[in-house]
Amino acid sequence: MELGVKYIFQRIGFYLVAAWVSVTLNFILPRLMPGDPASLLLSRISGRLRPEQIDALKKVYGLTNSPLPVQYIQYLKQVLHGNLGISIYNFPTPVSEVIATGLMWTLLLGLTAVVISFVLGNLIGVIAAWRRGGWVDSVMPPLMIFIGSFPYFWLAMLCLFVFGFELKLFPISHAFGMNVTVGFNLPFLIDVVRHTILPAITIVLVSTGGWALGMRNTMIGVLSEDYITMADAKGLSNRRIMFGYAARNALLPAVTGFGIALGYVVGGALLTEIVFSYPGLGFQLLTAVQNLDYPLMQGLLLVITLAVLIANFIVDLIYVRLDPRVRIQARE
């Protein structure tokens, strides 16, 4: 597969720039605080820290007396070595270790929810566009816009209240219960699934509408193309025209949108985690903010951003597979 290689390299270049921007943002953020960042940071958390913690903190931030460019280069070096510093709250656990546990849970919850909402949303969009003016098409858009208007975290609160608190159908917090042993055993896995359903439903509820509306609108455009009329004239079955001809082509913008939407979904998933006390990156982020654990906070921002960049890159790779034009473009 040498076709599309040029395109892939272009994208890699772009993501490297994006990664560099986010690392630099991470460097600038603490220095955005009004006044002298070092003393401000320390005064905010004074009394909570032992001297060695303060030293570690200073070191991580490069808040020594060296000039900014030197600090910046030191910071870049540390990040490249995967050294995100030491968590203040969980002293002396390295930030990277703390994040690793959270990342696992977020990936589980996020991937499940995103895949379900993508498939479901696009399917609804296809049906709505195919039977334009039918009941799916009349009921779906306003309903989806309405549900999509709710903040993720509020819908999460509602789900938690109705299904967890009132109906007691699902557990209301954490990723697994107290009475199961962590490991690869059936009771544990079942428990994890039970704990994931409610937060996942929340994310699916809010994010499905966007896919459905986008798909409907692109599909309507595609349906007026000549090759659809041609397919119909050939006497192909409706199902084949619908999925093999129309939906297949209408899916391209949805795949592109997938990468962009991912950022929003990640944000929403973070808030959902907080409501459900689900031990993923979002919950960790809030705890870090509450504990003024600045290294952990920044490490989380960096990891979340990089994860989204990687996901976007994977989407780009899929795009090359799906859209032959990209490959032809690269060949010329």
Binding site: Y7, L29, M33, N217, S224, P253, G263, G267, I304
Partner: protein, 335 residues
């Protein structure tokens, strides 16, 4: 829509086709485009519904102290009392009147949204149109900046930013405004690129008009619908995102807004004590505000893009024949 915008440089987007002017034969050309648009808007059910909700909310914001007098932070009764005649929406976990808080909090929530929308849209216009108008290296650099900020997830960045900066409503407005612009910029860039090649723009340039005038007086008015839709979307984003940040306790928690009501509801375990009145109303208000804005937004899109309008006329037979009827479009396909 931005979904149609090509991500791969070089591959032309089917959506940004320039409309040949002679295609308009048979369609009455509106004499007053703005008046015509307003007439279409007021005839649209969705716009009327969304507009009514919006006007009602503006009314509440304007007369909040009259509708719900009293100090929203005052402890007026026992904590977590269910709704009663005296306290229409019960009391919060700290014994405050939820109804008073809800009405008085609308001001911070909605104004934040408006300011966020304005800042994001203005930034989007400046960056997007500069990139689209000048093209070349300027466009390349600005496009990379836009795409980088589009791809970096917003919420974690907002949370960390808000954690580092002083906790005031102004901070939240600035943080949200400064992160909300790339989507608008991208759409406007694509549109500017296509409008830039129109004859009247060339005429204006040749006529010796300043770049500033060409961009803002010649090109910008042609993107009124995109700007309007960006502004509406920006306001909705601002309202929801502000609530999110406040909910996390990153705002000024001593100030009443819909977000802080939710923050206190969560922190005082309003959920686990069954005090639904502490978190249902603010969430519904946020959703209602965002819903009305989105409703108007989609309708503007529908009105300016006839291809999206759902066809309601005709029965089952027509729908069955639908595939064939599509082959001979009556209206020239604009999208």
């Amino acid at each position: 829509m931005e979904a149609n915008e090509p991500r791969i440089p070089g591959v032309t987007a089917p959506s940004v086709k320039t409309r040949p002017d002679n295609n308009n034969i048979g369609l009455p050309h509106p004499k007053y485009p703005l008046r015509d648009l307003i007439r279409k808007l007021t005839q649209n059910k969705k716009v009327v519904a969304g507009g009514t909700i919006l006007v009602a909310m503006v009314f509440v914001v304007a007369f909040a102290p009259l509708i719900a007098p009293g100090d929203p932070m005052a402890f007026v009764a026992q904590a977590n009392q269910p709704p009663s005649a005296e306290h229409l929406l019960g009391t919060s976990g700290q014994g405050q009147d939820v109804f008073v808080q809800l009405i008085r909090g609308s001001r911070v929530s909605l104004l934040t949204g408006v300011f966020v929308g304005l800042i994001a849209t203005i930034l989007g216009i400046i960056v997007g149109m500069t990139a689209g108008y000048f093209g070349g290296a300027v466009d390349n650099i600005l496009s990379v900046v836009m795409n980088v900020f589009l791809v970096i997830p917003g919420l974690p960045l907002l949370v960390v930013l808000a954690a580092f900066l002083p906790r005031t409503p102004a901070t939240i407005v600035l943080v949200l405004g400064l992160t909300g612009w790339p989507g608008t910029a991208r759409v406007l860039r694509a549109q500017t690129l296509s409008v830039r090649t129109k004859e009247y723009v060339s005429a204006a340039i040749v006529g010796g008009e300043s770049i500033f005038r060409v961009i803002f007086a010649e090109i910008l008015p042609n993107m009124a619908s995109i700007v309007a839709s960006s502004l509406l979307g920006g306001i909705a984003f601002g309202i929801v995102a502000e609530a999110g940040l406040e909910f996390l306790g990153l705002g000024d928690t001593s100030r009443v807004s819909w977000g802080t009501i939710l923050y206190w509801a969560q922190n005082n375990a309003g959920l686990l004590t069954g005090a639904w009145w502490t978190f249902l109303p603010p969430g519904l208000c946020i959703a209602l505000a965002a819903f009305s804005l989105t409703l108007i937004n989609y309708s503007v899109d529908e009105i300016t893009n006839p291809a999206l309008r759902s066809q309601r006329s005709g029965g089952a037979i027509l729908r069955k024949l639908y595939l064939r009827s599509r082959a001979t479009p009556v209206v020239p396909n604009e999208k």
